[in-house]
Structures are given as C-alpha cells and as structure tokens.
C-alpha cells in the first residue's frame, strides 16, 4: 500500500513534468546544461582572481614595478579618490555622452544615406567607389585634419568617431537592401504600391536584423573613435585622462581609465544584446 502510494506520487510528479513538456531525459539534459554553465562561470572567476592576485602579489613583493605597471589596490585607491572628487563621473560621463551622440549620428546617417542610395540607383553607382575608398581609409589619419578644420573640441571628437563607422555602415546596409528578393518588391508593385511602399513595407522591416547587428558593431567602433578623438583633441574624457596621466607617469590613472573602458564596453554590449532579443 505504502509502495503503491509512493509510486503513484512519483507517477503524478512525472506526469506533471510531462504536462509542462519536460520528460526525464529532457530534465537530465537541462541539468547537464546547467552544470556546464556553472563550470564555465567558475573558471571565468578563477582566471580573474588568479590574474588580479598574482598582479597584486607581484607589485607588493617588487617582482613587477608598480610605478610602471600599477597594481589592483592602486587602481581601487585611485577609483575611490576619483569618485570622491567627482572626476571619475565627469570623465566617464563625457566619454559616454560623446559615444552615444556619435552612435546615434552613425545610425541616422548610415540608414539615411543607404536609403538614398537604394532609392537612386544612378547615385549609388556614381558614389560607390568613393564610399569604398573612404571605408578602407584609416580614419585616424583624418583626425588631425578635423582638428585643423573644427578646432580641438568635442565637435572634432564626434566627427572623428562618426567617420570611423559611418562609411562601413552605409555600404553594409546598402548591400543588404539591394539583396532583398526581387519578387517581394514585385509583390508590392502588383498590389499597387510604388517605391515608397517597397521601402516601408519590405526593405526597412526586412532589414531590422542587419541594422541591429550593425548597431552592435557600431557601438564598439564609436567608442574606439571617441577615444582616438580624445587622445588628440580633448580636455576631458577617459581618452584624455589616459594620455594626460601617461605623460605625467600616473599609471594608476591610466590603468583605472582602461578598466572603466572595459566595464563600459561590456555594459554597452549587453544593452544591445538585450535590445536584440526583443
């Protein structure tokens, strides 16, 4: 009787699980997945702790010169003093703001010009070689020119950052637009639509995945562009801080800035990844 009751209980549990769409084998598989994820996480933490630990130990014992290589505790101290006097938030804020503005401008001009090229095939034929050239040109070469034209200010930094990613974005989007199935456009025309409807009903919605993946790349590229700009033309921002602090041998500040950049790129990447899921 007892046995029977127990078995029934188990059967009920099993059935419940199956009703939720999970069989025993599936449950075992999921458990396996979870275990693997835990192991991966464990190693990730281990590597970080080991790296920071050895670095700190080396700095303390004098194996590595903490004046040149800084040290984790030095970075923490710097972060505390910087956040107390507010300079941490100030420089990070400036860099972030510049990155977002550049990112939005790249998105705007990237999509806008790609649409224009798709709309006007002749224009795209005329401009293509120029775009290809501008895209493969190393943009850091342009930064000094921008300084001369626009002055050593935020405008230059944003223009430099935009120039890093905008040409590639235009080309990628334009090619993705042109590869849209010809018959899908024909469908729009058979329903009485014109080029405008083809754009709004087929081309743009159909290319959302391309735009999102481009956004992922562009966020990283805008940050690169902004830092290059700040190296050359800034009075504030993390790029400025890195250059300035390295010139006066305050390596704690340099490493702290780099550390903040690491955090920013991870956060931005996850932000876009979340957007992609929607």
């Amino acid at each position: 009787m007892m046995m029977n009751g127990k078995r029934m209980l188990f059967q009920n549990l099993d059935r419940q699980k199956e009703e939720q769409g999970i069989s025993a084998a599936q449950a075992a598989y999921l458990a396996g997945c979870r275990r693997e994820k835990r192991v991966v996480r464990l190693w990730q933490w281990l590597i970080m702790v080991l790296f920071l630990g050895l670095w700190e130990l080396g700095a303390r014992t004098g194996v590595i010169d903490s004046f040149v290589f800084s040290s984790p505790s030095g970075v923490v101290e710097t972060m505390i003093t910087m956040s107390k006097d507010g300079s941490l938030w100030y420089h990070t804020g400036i860099t972030l703001a510049e990155t977002f503005v550049s990112f939005l401008l790249i998105l705007f001009f990237g999509i806008g010009i790609a649409v224009l090229l798709w709309w006007n095939t002749k224009l795209s034929k005329i401009l293509e070689p120029y775009l290809v050239m501008l895209n493969s040109l190393p943009k850091s070469a342009l930064a000094p020119v921008f300084i001369v034209w626009l002055g050593a200010n935020m405008k230059t930094i944003i223009v430099a950052a935009v120039s890093v990613a905008v040409f590639g974005s235009i080309l990628t989007l334009y090619h993705s637009f042109s590869e849209t199935e010809e018959d899908k456009l024909k469908l729009i025309y058979t329903l009485g639509g014109g080029r405008k409807e083809a754009l709004t009903k087929v081309i743009l919605p159909g290319n959302i995945p391309t735009v999102v993946s481009l956004m992922k790349v562009n966020l990283g590229l805008s940050l690169v562009g902004v830092i290059i700009g700040e190296f050359l033309a800034a009075k504030a921002g993390l790029g400025y801080l890195i250059i300035y602090a390295s010139q006066v041998f305050k390596l704690d500040y340099v490493i702290t800035s780099i550390f903040i950049l690491c955090v920013i790129s991870v956060l931005l990447y996850h932000g876009i990844a979340r957007l992609e899921k929607k």
Binding site: E181, L191, G192, P205, I208
Partner: protein
C-alpha cells in the same frame, strides 16, 4: 470584344548582352468569368505576357485593354498571384493579408469584414494571429490568395501558383482556389508547366511556341464525367473521359515545337 483584349503584342528585352525577343504577334481575347490556362516551353515569354497584362512592364508594340481601357488605367482591377507566397515573416497572417489594403489606404470596415469572412471560409481564422512560419505550405498559399482577393480584383493573373507545393497539397489548393474563383465569378489567366493542371482547371488552354512566344494552338476544353456532367472539382477532372485525349493533344503541341527547331 472580350473582357481582356490583347492585340498584335510584341515585346523585347534589351540588355548589354543583346536583345531578347520574348513575345511576338500575340492576339488574345478573354471572356468575363473565363478561366484561361497558358502553357509553353520554359523561357518562352509566359511571365512576360502576364507582367505586361498586369502593367508591371510597359507595352512596346500592340495593345492590351481591360473592358476597353488600357491596362495602365486598370491596375486596381488586377490581382496577381506569384509562384511563391512571399508572406512577410515579420507580419502575422492577417497583417500579411492587409498589405494591399494598407498600400491603397483601403482599411475600411467593409474590407475588414470581408477579410474575416474569407479567413473563416478558407480555414485560416484560427491562424490569423500567427506568423507565416507556423503555417503549412497550403495555408500560406491560401493566405496569399486571400491577400489578392481581398482587393476584389476582377481579373486574376496566376504565374505557376502551385509549383512551390508538394503534389498532395497542390491538388487540394488547386481545388480550393478553383472553387473560390468560380464562386466569386472572377476571370483568371493562369500559367502552368503542368498539362494536367491546365486541362483540369481551365476552359481554354493556350499553347505558346518557344521564344519568341507566339500562340501555337488554342484548345477549348470540355470535360464530361461518368454521369455525363462536367467535373465539379479540378482533382476529379483527371478521371474525365476526354482527359487523356486533351493531354495527348497538348503534349504533342509542346513537343512538336522541338521538331521545328
């Protein structure tokens, strides 16, 4: 004069590689309510002919009129079914069907009601909110048909509408579409590679020559079943008495084309 009139139609494509003469001297009149099938060798200009009727290509020589008016003025009278359904993956079934209404700013209460009625009638009502990837091939084709029919065209152009479907689905969708067109009293011009499909669905079969396409033969189709009545569904037509004779005749016309070359 018919419902659709085509006279002395010639058409050539121009590319860098040279000129391709696609159609030559086509004369054709289609009655209102008629179901016309066009067969011909691959590349003979069938799709070109349909694109010209639909006004997607401009006529170069000759005339095409619908109820006496040039096609450029009658585009809203024409519905076009392509080989693939081309449902937009990001739109639900009903939003796909609304596409034509959106484009023509015709999202009225009457159209919504018509759409709902058609969805129910053709077994898609429960699936109106789902994305196309959850529909079967036959359901997708029916959704594409409703998208065309909800615009209430008077003339329907079908370019190999079933060729993307497997044989089973193909027969049942052909039955469905035939029933819908007959119930709505639509005029239809259908291109097909399948001789059996042409005989079983149409009242008249036009055989084109290979490029440049000319009309080689017109065949009136009259089928009778065992009971002496015409078949009700295209899928029954294959067992009609005269079926094999028509099949042979059309087959010979298509093959004869090769002999002459």
């Amino acid at each position: 004069m018919g419902f659709l009139d085509i006279s002395q139609l010639n058409y050539s494509y121009h590319t860098k590689a040279g000129e391709t003469k696609a159609l030559s001297g086509i004369n054709l009149a289609v009655r209102e309510g008629e179901f016309l099938a066009i067969v011909g060798p691959s590349g003979c200009g069938k799709s070109t002919l349909l694109n010209l009727i639909a006004g997607l290509l401009k006529t170069q020589e000759g005339n095409i009129t619908i109820e006496g008016a040039p096609v450029a003025e009658s585009r809203d009278k024409i519905g076009y079914m392509l080989q693939k359904d081309h449902l937009m993956e990001w739109r639900s079934t009903e939003d796909n069907i609304r596409l034509g209404l959106e484009i023509n700013k015709m999202e009225t209460k009457e159209k919504e009601a018509l759409m709902e009625q058609m969805l129910k009638q053709y077994g898609l009502y429960e699936f109106r909110k789902v994305k196309p990837k959850e529909l079967s091939g036959g359901m997708r084709q029916r959704a594409a048909l409703i998208r065309t029919l909800v615009m209430e065209p008077e003339l329907l152009l079908l370019d190999e509408p079933f060729s993307a479907l497997d044989y089973q689905t193909r027969l049942s969708v052909a039955d469905d579409i035939y029933a819908i067109l007959k119930a709505e009293g639509k005029t239809a011009v259908m291109i097909t590679h399948d001789i059996a499909e042409a005989i079983s669905m149409s009242e008249r079969v036009i055989v084109l020559t290979s490029r440049p396409g000319r009309i080689r033969k017109e065949i009136q189709v009259h089928l009778t079943m065992e009971d002496g009545k015409p078949p009700v569904k295209p899928s029954q037509a294959r067992s009609a008495r005269e079926f094999a004779v028509y099949y042979q005749q059309i087959w010979k016309e298509l093959m004869g084309d090769d002999d002459e070359r």
